[in-house]
Amino acid sequence: MLYALCFLLFMIGLYCAVVKKNMVKIVIGIMVMEYAVNLFLIMLGYRFGGIAPIVDKGQLDLETGQIAAGFLNSSVDPLPQALVLTAIVISLGSLALMISICIRTYEKYGTFDITQIRRLKG
C-alpha cells in the first residue's frame, strides 16, 4: 500500500515534469520524482517498530565479536539511509544548477513559458 502511494508520488512528479509548460514547475516535478525515489529507498530499509542501527555494548558479545540476534532482527537497514543521503546531496546540486539556468534563461527571454522559448528547431 505504502509502496503504491510512493509510486503514485513518482508518477505525479513525472506527469508534472512532462506536461507543465512553466520551467520552474518542470523543475518542481523533477524534484518530486527525486523525493519519491528517496522515500522508496527509505521504506525499503524500514521495519515497523525497528530500532536505530547502532550497536551498543549490551548487544555486542565482546569475546566472540558476535552481535546479538535480537539486534539483527529488530534494527532497520542502515544502507538505504546512506544511499539517500548521497542522493539528496546529488539532487541538491542538480536543483541548484537547474534553478540557476532557469534564472539565466528568464533574464534572456523574459519568460518561463517553454512554448515561447523555442529558438532551436529541426
Binding site: 520551467m23 523533477i30 527525486e34 544502507l79
Partner: protein, 503 residues
C-alpha cells in the same frame, strides 16, 4: 606496470578542485595543469591495457565495501575516454580563449572526465549512479557554458531529460537493492542467477533501459541531443558526442544487461530494434540539416545505432545458444565501431569548431570555398568524413565491414542490407558537408579569414592520424590485447560475477 585504479578518478577530480584557485592571472598555469592531467590519464590508460584487477576501496572486502573493477571492456573505454579528452583539452587551449572563465571551464571538463572514468571502472551499482551524476552535471553546465539564448535553452532541455533519466536509474538501483539485498554488481548477478527474474527486477531492467537510453540518446529518447551537442563549445561537443553518450549510455546499459541481468532473447531483440531505429532515423534527420554541428549531432545518433545493433546482435545469438564465434564477431564489430566513432566524431566536431572560429557561423549555406583558406581543417575533415562514411583504408570501413559480415553470417540478411543503406546515407550527408563548406564559391565576407594555428592543429592532426591508423587495431597482436578482452567480457555474460568474486 600495475596502475593504481583510484588514480583514474583521483587525478582529474583532484586537479579539477585545484583549478578554480587560479583565477584570471593564473590562466596559463591552470591550462598546463589540466593538460598534464589528461595526458597522464592517457599514459595510465595505455599502461593498464590487458590487466584485469579488482580494487577494494579502503580495504573493505567485496560485499561490504565499494570496489573498482578493471577488465577488458573498462580498459577499452578508459583508452577511448583518455584519447578523446586529451585531444579535446589540447584543442581548447586556444579555442576557449573566446570565452571568459577558462579556469572554470577546465574544472568542469576534468569533473566530467572523472565521472566518466568512474563509470567505466565502478563495480558497484550505486557508485556507478554517483559517477554518472558527476559526469552528467558537469556536462549540463558545459552545454550552457556560453550563456546565450540557444545555449541556455539547450542546456535546460538536456538537463530535464537527463535528470529524468538519472532518477529512473536511481529508482532501478533501489528496486534491485530491494530484490537482491546487494549493491555489488557481482553479488547482484549471483543473486539473480540463483533466484531468477521476478516482477520487480524486470521492472528495474525496463527502468535501466529507459534511463540509460535517455543518456545514450537512442532514438525514442533522442530529443535533447541535436540541441545540446551543437550548443556546447566545440571541444565539449567533441567530448559529448565522442565519448560521453557512449560511457554513460551504451557502456552502462551493456554492463547492466550483459553482466548483471544476463542477456535474454527479448533483450537482444530490443537492443537490435533500438539500434536500427537510431541508425535509420538519425541518418534521415541528418541529411536535411543546414547547421554544420547539428548535422554532426544527428549523425552521432545514427552511428551510435551501429554500436548498439552490433552488441544486440551478438547478445541475441548468445541468448539463443547460437554459434559463439558469430556472436563475438558481432560484438567485436559494435565495440570497434564505438572506439572508431569516438575518434572520428570528436575530430569532426573539432574541425567544425575550427571552421566556426574562423568564419563565425555554423550555417553551411553561408560558407563555401574554405578549402583554400583552411587547408589543414579541410584535410582533417575529409579524413574524418571518409572514416565515418566507411571508405576503405579509414577506420569506419573496418568496423562496418565486420558488422556486415557478422550479420550475414548469422543469416540476418536484412540487417546487413540496412547497415549498407545507412552507410550510403552517411556518405551523402558528408558529401554535403564537403560540398557546401569546403568547395564552391567563397562568399565575400569570408575573404579575410585565416587558418587557426597552434594547439588546435596539433589536436586535429593527431586525431586524423589515429583515424587512418585505427584499422591496425585488427592486426592479431593489438586485437588480442585490446579488443578481444573487451569482447570476452560481454560473451562471458554473467560469468562476470564469478570472475570478480574469484579475484
Amino acid at each position: 606496470m600495475i596502475v593504481p585504479l583510484p588514480a583514474f578518478v583521483a587525478i582529474p577530480l583532484g586537479t579539477a578542485f585545484l583549478l578554480p584557485v587560479f583565477a584570471k592571472r593564473g590562466k596559463a598555469v591552470a591550462t598546463v595543469l589540466a593538460n598534464l592531467a589528461t595526458i597522464s590519464l592517457l599514459v595510465l590508460a595505455i599502461a593498464s591495457i590487458g590487466q584485469t584487477r579488482v580494487y577494494e576501496i579502503g580495504k573493505w572486502s567485496i560485499p561490504l565495501g565499494i570496489n573498482l573493477v578493471l577488465d577488458g571492456l573498462s580498459s577499452l573505454l578508459l583508452l577511448a575516454i583518455s584519447v578523446v579528452s586529451a585531444a579535446a583539452m589540447l584543442f581548447s587551449i586556444r579555442y576557449m580563449e573566446q570565452y571568459t572563465a577558462k579556469a572554470k571551464f577546465l574544472c568542469l571538463f576534468l569533473l566530467m572526465v572523472a565521472g566518466m572514468n568512474g563509470v567505466a571502472l565502478s563495480g558497484d551499482i550505486f557508485n556507478l549512479f554517483v559517477f554518472l551524476e558527476i559526469a552528467s552535471l558537469a556536462s549540463y553546465a558545459l552545454v550552457g557554458f556560453g550563456c546565450e539564448h540557444e545555449e541556455l535553452e539547450a542546456s535546460f532541455k538536456y538537463m530535464v531529460l537527463g535528470s529524468i533519466g538519472s532518477i529512473f536509474i536511481l529508482f532501478a538501483v533501489a528496486l534491485v537493492y530491494g530484490n537482491t539485498g546487494s549493491l555489488n554488481m557481482a553479488y547482484i548477478s549471483k543473486a539473480i542467477q540463483s533466484s531468477g527474474l521476478n516482477r520487480g527486477l524486470t521492472f528495474a531492467l525496463a527502468l535501466f533501459v529507459v534511463g540509460f537510453g535517455l543518456k545514450a540518446a537512442l532514438v525514442p529518447f533522442h530529443a535533447w541531443l541535436p540541441d545540446a551537442h551543437p550548443s556546447a563549445p566545440a571541444p565539449i561537443s567533441a567530448m559529448l558526442s565522442g565519448i560521453l553518450i557512449k560511457t554513460l549510455g551504451v557502456y552502462a546499459l551493456v554492463r547492466v544487461v550483459f553482466n548483471i541481468f544476463g542477456i535474454s532473447v527479448s533483450m537482444g531483440w530490443l537492443l537490435i530494434a533500438l539500434g536500427l531505429l537510431s541508425m535509420v532515423a538519425g541518418a534521415f534527420l541528418a541529411i536535411g540539416q543546414w547547421d554544420f554541428k547539428r548535422l554532426l549531432a544527428y549523425s552521432s545518433i545514427s552511428q551510435l545505432g551501429y554500436v548498439v545493433l552490433g552488441i544486440g546482435l551478438g547478445g541475441l545469438i548468445i541468448a539463443r545458444d547460437g554459434n559463439l564465434a558469430w556472436a563475438s564477431l558481432a560484438i567485436l564489430g559494435g565495440l570497434f565501431h564505438l572506439v572508431n566513432h569516438a575518434v572520428y566524431k570528436s575530430l569532426l566536431f573539432l574541425t567544425s569548431g575550427s571552421v566556426q572560429m574562423s568564419t563565425g557561423t555554423r550555417q553551411m549555406k553561408q560558407m563555401g570555398g574554405l578549402a583554400e583558406k583552411l587547408p589543414v581543417t579541410r584535410a582533417t575533415c575529409t579524413v574524418a568524413s571518409a572514416a565515418v562514411a566507411g571508405i576503405p583504408p579509414f577506420s569506419g570501413f573496418w568496423s562496418k565491414l565486420i558488422l556486415v559480415i557478422a550479420a550475414i553470417q548469422a543469416h540476418f540478411y536484412w540487417v546487413a542490407a540496412i547497415i549498407v543503406f545507412v552507410s550510403l546515407c552517411t556518405l551523402i550527408m558528408y558529401l554535403k558537408v564537403q560540398r557546401y563548406v569546403f568547395l564552391g564559391e567563397l562568399p565575400e565576407n569570408l575573404q579575410e579569414i585565416k587558418e587557426n594555428r597552434g594547439s588546435m592543429l596539433v589536436a586535429m592532426v593527431s586525431l586524423a592520424c589515429l583515424c587512418v591508423l585505427m584499422g591496425l587495431l585488427l592486426t592479431p597482436c593489438l586485437r588480442s590485447s585490446i579488443l578481444d578482452p573487451a569482447v570476452q567480457v560481454l560473451t562471458d555474460g554473467v560469468l562476470y560475477s564469478a570472475n570478480v568474486i574469484g579475484m
